[in-house]
Amino acid sequence: MPITTAYKTEIQRVSILDEHGNFDEKLGKDLIPDADLVRLYEAMVTCRVLDEIAFKLQRSGRMGTYPQNMGQEAPSLGASYVLNKDDWIVTCYRENCGLFWRGVPMESILLHWMGDERGNAMPREHFATPIAVPIGTQMLHATGLAWASKYRGEKRISCTFFGDGASSEGDFHEACNFAANLEIPVVFVCQNNFWAISSPGKVNCSAPTLAQRALAYGMPTIQVDGNDLFAVVKVMRDAAAWTREHGKPHFVEAVTYRLGDHTTADDARRYRDQAEVELWKTRDPITRIYDYMKSRKLWDDSKEATTRERAAVNANAAVATAEGIAEPHRQDYFNAMYAELPADLATQLATHNTHSLGQTEEAAHVATEALAKAHASHH
């Protein structure tokens, strides 16, 4: 048999509630209880409202660069909804909706983009890692976090999110390969929104699907309509269950679209067709659930109005909290460097100087005091 088959595979795509309102009863029935659906809907609306407010904050100089999540609310939300509360969720920056569902305060995310590290000081009980600025690097941390669970014999898994662009980075490959070969339970979720800033999808992946990235590792993989919350919930529930049971990784490609600019520093009109945006607006994950709930008589205009109002109140409260925080202090960034502030750094802090002549006796004394205090606070 000179020519034989060495490998054969097939990747599925799941859709339950499509953009035309078609709902697959077989897969969709009992998937999300109505009461939950209403809460999930509200979560998406709140996230969208925050995006709009954040945009304005940036434009009026009250916040730095901000990446809107608009249009991509469903993948992280669906994941967050089905994961255990103590499964690690390791994100990039378009997973606000899932993080908020998990319990991460909105003001944390705002503070991050306001140039304040306190936004990243997430309480550990959220089992969420900080926003990852260097693209494609956080998936390795997800793999390490899940490895720790395995090491300890816990059932906790990791779920990590990243973009189509991120899947080009070497670290993505290494994260998948470690998880597959060392048998570490991670769900890798690629939010394929077809753009990496101005680079169209095929610059980063010219294969027919992003889901097939996983075939390289012999990893189970599936594609899902990422704007279909039902399909996301089903796929993520199955993937998480499989991962937890087998102690091995699973890949999910969530096909979605960012309706806004890459960040507030970007102008997407420079590189993409408005027609494409308009098309994707018809596939909006929020209106899809809205229409569905209406058709099921779960929803009406007054509920909608209440929801929108509550969303605005919550989002504005978060902004107020974020803006109301005290100014950060110089010592914050010095003291945060190590568990104990090194003596030399203590002097730099005390004198706010890096040149020795300015480090007078008095300053050195202050430095010594600061150091002693730092030590004391750790013992």
Binding site: P134, E169, S199, L345, N353
Partner: protein
């Protein structure tokens, strides 16, 4: 002669070198239709086509690694790394290959590569968008490291870098990308890599600096009212220690200013060299005004971190009073 800012000067240099030499091509993330996130390559894809201004996948090691291959084949690639904080993934290809290929092969293969990288703080950007890693690459034999501080220098140094037969990291201080304009000749010109520029002459004290800090130093000198010589290093490797020596031998006092963390920053090398060369002329120890030995804080506190005219001013006073 046009009056250009730093972005425009670089853009012009790229246009002229691309017109002159079809071995020159640009590659990087978002540099094509989008013109780069700082618009430095604006209009170049329209002008030169998609073959010569190439949007690459989002992978810095890939960008530099393929650029090395292009250069080994005799082309003159100019990869852009979007921010200095993203040089990290490309560190290995830069230091293990670009820097070593000529010596490894005793010249059989060379890597005439110019890596363009926006550098430094002060623009209210997110984390990893405000660092100053020049010392890392100056410590890596085989590389040249350039950092202009003005539009005129930017054009001349970039053209030199592109024509240089060895790999050059060309750092663009993003804080002054659009801070000011100056006259920049239309014609092509080069500035030697390895030669400093005396920004202002003086006899009381020498300041050595580079990149965006030069502007802070000019301010500090003005504020001080003293007779100070300001040397803009322009190129970090090779560096013009002769110019520094000549100046410090005259003034006897020196302050070095840079944004990178103090410890093992390039200021340490300048200080050590001055000690070695000007020991008997020194009337005070060389003072270093630098970033602190902390991570560059998020932007609410970045101005607290960056050396500014006030901190330079205090160093000048302390040094003169010594």
């Amino acid at each position: 002669m046009a009056t250009l800012n730093l972005v425009q000067a670089i853009n012009l240099a790229l246009i002229q070198e691309m017109e002159k030499d079809d071995r020159v091509l640009l590659m990087g993330e978002d540099i094509g239709l989008n013109g780069g996130v700082f618009r430095v390559t604006e209009g170049l894809q329209a002008r030169f086509g998609k073959e010569r201004v190439v949007d690459t996948p989002l992978a810095e090691s890939g960008i530099i690694g393929t650029a090395i291959g292009l250069a080994m084949a005799g082309l003159r690639p100019i990869p852009e790394i979007q921010f200095e904080g993203f040089l990290g993934p490309a560190y290995d290809q830069i230091c293990s290959h670009a820097a070593r290929m000529r010596s490894r092969t005793r010249g059989a293969f060379t890597v005439p590569l110019t890596i363009r990288v926006p550098v430094g703080g002060g623009i209210h950007a997110p984390e990893l968008h405000s660092d100053s890693p020049e010392a890392i690459y100056a410590h890596t034999p085989g590389l040249k490291v350039v950092m202009p501080s003005s539009p005129y220098d930017a054009k001349g140094l970039l053209i030199s870098a592109i024509r240089d037969p060895d790999p050059v990291i060309y750092f663009e201080p993003k804080r002054i990308y659009r801070a000011f304009r100056e006259e920049v000749p239309e014609d092509e010109y080069t500035l030697p890599i390895g030669k400093a520029r005396t920004v202002s002459e003086g006899n009381e004290l020498t300041i050595v600096s580079w990149g965006a800090s030069v502007v802070q130093c000019m301010q500090a000198i003005e504020n001080s009212g003293r007779d100070i010589e300001l040397i803009d290093l322009r190129t970090i490797y090779p560096f013009d220690i002769d110019a520094v020596e000549a100046s410090v031998s005259k003034t006897g006092r020196c302050v070095v200013v840079h944004e990178a963390p103090l410890t093992c920053g390039f200021g340490a090398e300048i200080s050590a060299r001055i000690m070695e060369r000007c020991f008997l002329h020194l009337e005070a120890p060389v003072q270093r005004v630098a970033g602190f030995d902390t991570t560059m804080p998020y932007y609410k506190l970045e101005l607290d971190y960056l050396p500014d005219a006030a901190r330079v001013g205090r160093a000048i006073e302390d040094c003169l009073a010594y």
